[in-house]
């Protein structure tokens, strides 16, 4: 029977990527000098599950590679090998490599990372370097009789048709093999003859055996001595590096009659055709799911059964309420009593609907640990690279937020953490000289506040160097030569496009992604970012985000008979501008003076091709909005209510409209469009000539 395994591969990918995340986080936790056996076990199990799964699904490359990992881990687990820091390095690099492999598999692309052979070589080298195994490494040929440690044999056994008739039972032979070491047997697909030619006494079977034993080959051959002539038997102590053909039972591959010792590599590792990981292993791996970081934007979501149960309960309640209302509806007449019941029922219905909506939203909520979990690794790698000692503290990892927000906040966070490491934290010597502890601290903290989630990224480094920033800003002409700025205003400068205080373009800084991009990304999520910095004590970035992208706080505005929603986070203030504060440039563009700033004003009715009551600035209201830290005024007729709106897609059935980010449905059932401030500013052409400079 053919089972299409591909339908399960998506789940396998997800599980494997989770497994990799587990491996990574456990590896980072690991104390190399005194490794906790449970931690190593966890890492081993994750690797084992990935190997087993990939072998089942026919992902040879992954299976071969993870096999090497597994061998190494197994030796460490059994205490045969002392854990070394370099092992952690290799394993972490392997996690990255495997991630790449899975990404390639998921996008059905070829995986051609030059790191693969390189790491494979390193792994093999490490494995071969065990003192107890050095012997066998130096004797690569058939002299395996001297081999003292266990090795793994792959034996292809194709029984001759007459084997049973001669009184030989393969099972007995296998049993004997099993007495020499752990044995797995796999029946390869066989082709039976058509019914007419079928001989019930003949044997048509073909096994592939994997045996781990320290017995020499000669001893293994002894087992099959009696049937050698009539059966096709091949012995492989499989080679590790180009192992593609050997590792996985490939159905088309003819059994090799020769004893294939000559090609065996000096390495002691051999490849075992792996039986799928046992269910219990997989269960352990998926229980650890909470520790897993999702990579990339996968379209599916794993939901805890608790949340599903809650939904089912809620729907149950809803059905009961519906039945109750239905009963009232069947009564012949409505009296005082039934009216009361009806009211109660409707109230219940309303509350259930609200609960249901909340629970459905909950499904999209994931703990922020999914984002946080990549940081230990990042901090470790960059810290090592920069020669800085860093301790990373994670707080509020259970705080939940919407999946889409979570996915989009990771990049800005990575940038901020990298910044803290690179610019914020001083080198150990400097820190000691300043009387600070040698090890710097970076703290990530997440918590809920109102309808928002707050993410803080704080370090105890040097803080922002205001003098340097100001100097740089003067150089770039962002600040006039004599202009004095408050400390806070200076801090804000780092969010300007094209601004970098790094003296030189390093590996980490100056790679094009500036703080302006961070700020823009956060703004795109309808969030905001604040910065507090104390010279010598450190800096703290506070990101405030809506819990979900589906709902936003909006200000309803009217232009003529059209109603638009402006996201509340982009609004600074709204005001009526007296005529004496309106200036006109020679080209007819109008500016308003607001305290010490001159702001351009976008006449929304003109950009949107609408009629409006107020065609001149003095007749209407100017709403000051923020776009990339640039303030711009929007001319509107009237401010209406502020309310939370549910965002609906316009593109789903229509197309993108410049200046509009989506639509929402108002209380009366009509549609209102949501203003995309950045898009509107662009549509009006403001700052478009600056765009290239940034």
């Amino acid at each position: 029977m053919d089972i299409d395994l591909s339908q399960f591969s998506q789940v396998f990918f997800e599980e494997s990527i989770e497994g990799l995340a587990i491996m990574e986080s456990e590896l980072l936790k690991l104390d190399v000098a005194t490794p906790d056996p449970e931690t190593i076990n966890t890492i081993f199990r994750a690797a084992h599950s990935i190997k087993g799964g990939s072998a089942t699904f026919g992902f040879t490359q992954v299976a071969n590679y993870t096999h090497l990992l597994e061998t190494l881990l197994d030796e460490i687990r059994d205490g045969r090998r002392q854990m070394q820091p370099e092992h952690v390095d290799i394993l972490l690099l392997s996690v990255d490599l495997l991630r790449g492999m899975f990404e390639a598999l998921m996008s059905q692309a070829e995986f051609n990372d030059p790191k693969l052979p390189e790491l494979e070589l390193r792994l093999n080298h490490t494995l071969a370097n065990q003192p107890t195994q050095a012997q066998s490494a130096s004797t690569p040929s058939a002299s395996t009789a001297t081999q003292s440690t266990a090795s793994c044999w792959q034996i292809d056994f194709k029984a001759g048709a007459d084997i049973m008739r001669c009184g030989n039972d393969p099972m007995l032979m296998f049993a004997e093999l099993a007495s020499k070491g752990p044995l797995t047997a796999e029946l390869l697909p066989v082709s039976f003859p058509v019914w007419d030619d079928f001989d019930p006494e003949a044997c048509y079977l073909h096994w592939r055996l994997a045996l781990i034993t320290d017995e020499p080959l000669a001893k293994l051959k002894e087992v099959f001595e009696w049937v050698e002539d009539e059966c096709e038997i091949s012995y492989n102590q499989a080679e590790a590096a180009p192992a593609a053909e050997l590792a996985i039972p490939e159905q088309a591959q003819p059994p090799q009659p020769e004893v294939d010792m000559a090609v065996s590599a000096p390495e002691v590792i051999a490849l075992v055709p792996e039986v799928p990981a046992s269910p219990s292993d997989k269960a352990v791996a998926s229980q650890k799911q909470s520790a897993a970081a999702k990579s990339g934007e996968s379209s599916s979501i794993r939901v805890s059964t608790e949340k599903i149960d809650m939904l089912i309960n809620m729907v149950g309640e809803l059905v009961i309420t519906q039945a109750m209302l239905g009963q009232i509806g069947q009564q012949d007449e409505i009296n005082q009593e039934s009216l009361l019941l009806l009211q109660q029922g409707l109230e219940q219905l309303a509350s259930h609907t609200r609960d249901l909506q909340e629970s459905v939203m909950q499904i999209r909520m994931l703990p922020i640990s999914f984002a946080f979990n990549r940081f230990p690794r990042l901090v470790r790698d960059i810290g090592q690279q920069l020669g800085k000692k860093v301790e990373l503290i994670l707080k509020g990892e259970d705080t939940e937020l919407d999946k889409t927000v979570l996915e989009k906040i990771v990049d800005p966070m990575v940038h901020l953490v990298r910044n803290s490491l690179d610019h914020g934290l001083e080198s150990p010597e400097v820190r000691l000289a300043q009387g600070k502890p040698e090890t710097g601290t970076i703290m990530l903290n997440a918590y809920h506040q109102g309808g928002c989630i707050i993410i803080e990224i704080a370090d105890d480094g040097a803080g922002l160097n205001t003098g340097k920033i100001l100097q740089k800003a003067r150089q770039k002409g962002l600040v006039g030569p004599d202009e004095e700025l408050s400390e806070d205003a200076i801090h804000q400068l780092i969010f300007k496009p094209g601004f970098s205080t790094a003296d030189a373009v390093s590996d980490l800084s100056g790679r094009g992604v500036g703080m302006d991009v961070v700020k823009r990304n956060i703004h795109e999520l309808n969030g905001s970012i604040e910065l507090k910095s104390d010279a010598g004590k450190g800096s703290r970035f506070t990101i405030r985000l809506p819990l979900t992208l589906a709902i936003l706080d909006g200000q309803l505005v009217r232009i003529g008979k059209h109603i638009y929603v402006v996201p509340l986070v982009s609004i600074y203030e709204s005001l009526q501008v007296p005529t004496n504060r309106i200036n006109r440039l020679s080209d007819g563009h109008e500016l308003i003076r607001l305290r010490d700033e001159y702001l351009p004003v976008i006449k929304m009715y003109r950009e949107f091709n609408h009629d409006a009551d107020a065609r001149e600035i003095k007749d209407g209201l100017v709403m000051v909005v923020d776009h990339n830290n640039e303030k711009t005024g929007l001319l509107v007729d009237e401010l209406l209510a502020q309310q939370q709106v549910v965002i609906k897609s316009l593109e789903e059935n229509y197309t993108r409209i410049p200046g509009i980010s989506g639509a929402t449905i108002l209380g009366d059932g009509t549609v209102a469009l949501i203003i995309d401030v950045a898009g509107l500013v662009k549509l009006a052409g403001i700052g478009s000539s600056n765009e290239h400079a940034a």
Binding site: N609, K648, I657, L683
Partner: protein, 179 residues
């Protein structure tokens, strides 16, 4: 409405919903029709071509409404209680979109066999035949069968005039700023 027999379905007859516009009868594949509604006020979209009347809320989904008369360049009628909106599902770029079209009145449902459909004569440059699947004769009336996917696929692009205005605007502004 015409009877639908299993026989007809078996023969692979396609059913069409026909509607009237300026005394002509048009037909669209009935499988693409989701529902038929009355006219309701729409939310006007900024810078949309004039035949895009705006969007409505269709049970939580935002659905654009297109005036087919305007799209065809026929003089428009005053909308009223009898104005009909046919909500159709069309496939564009491999995604399915729901769009409402405003027509004068819904007429009939009928089946047509593939071989009964005649090609529309080519009148030259003025007519755009890509939107017309063919012509059919139903009870001595000519029905113009529309290729709704192509028709509406092209409908939601902003018209050249608007596009030019936006682009011109952007260019002009950037010139001013650099000057």
């Amino acid at each position: 409405m015409a009877d639908i027999s299993i026989e007809q379905v078996k023969q692979g007859n396609q059913q069409y919903l026909s509607f009237i516009m300026a005394n002509e009868e048009y037909g669209v594949d009935i499988l693409s029709v989701q529902e038929i509604r009355g006219w309701e006020p729409t939310t006007v979209l900024p810078n949309a071509p004039d035949y895009v009347k705006g969007v409505i809320n269709l049970r939580g989904t935002i659905v654009p409404i297109i005036d087919l008369r305007q799209k065809f360049g026929i003089k428009t009628l005053e909308y009223g209680a009898t104005t009909v909106v046919i909500v159709v599902k069309v496939t564009m770029d491999e995604t399915q979109k729901v769009i409402g079209i405003v027509v004068d009145a819904v007429s009939d449902v009928f089946s047509i066999e593939e071989e009964e459909i005649r090609r529309a004569p080519d009148f030259g440059h003025g007519t755009d035949l890509r939107f017309i699947k063919g012509l059919a004769n139903v009870q001595d009336k000519m029905v113009i069968l529309l290729e709704i996917n192509r028709l509406l696929g092209s409908a939601i692009l902003p018209d050249p005039e608007t596009l030019n205005r936006i682009i011109g605007n952007l260019e002009q502004q950037s010139q001013v700023m650099t000057a």
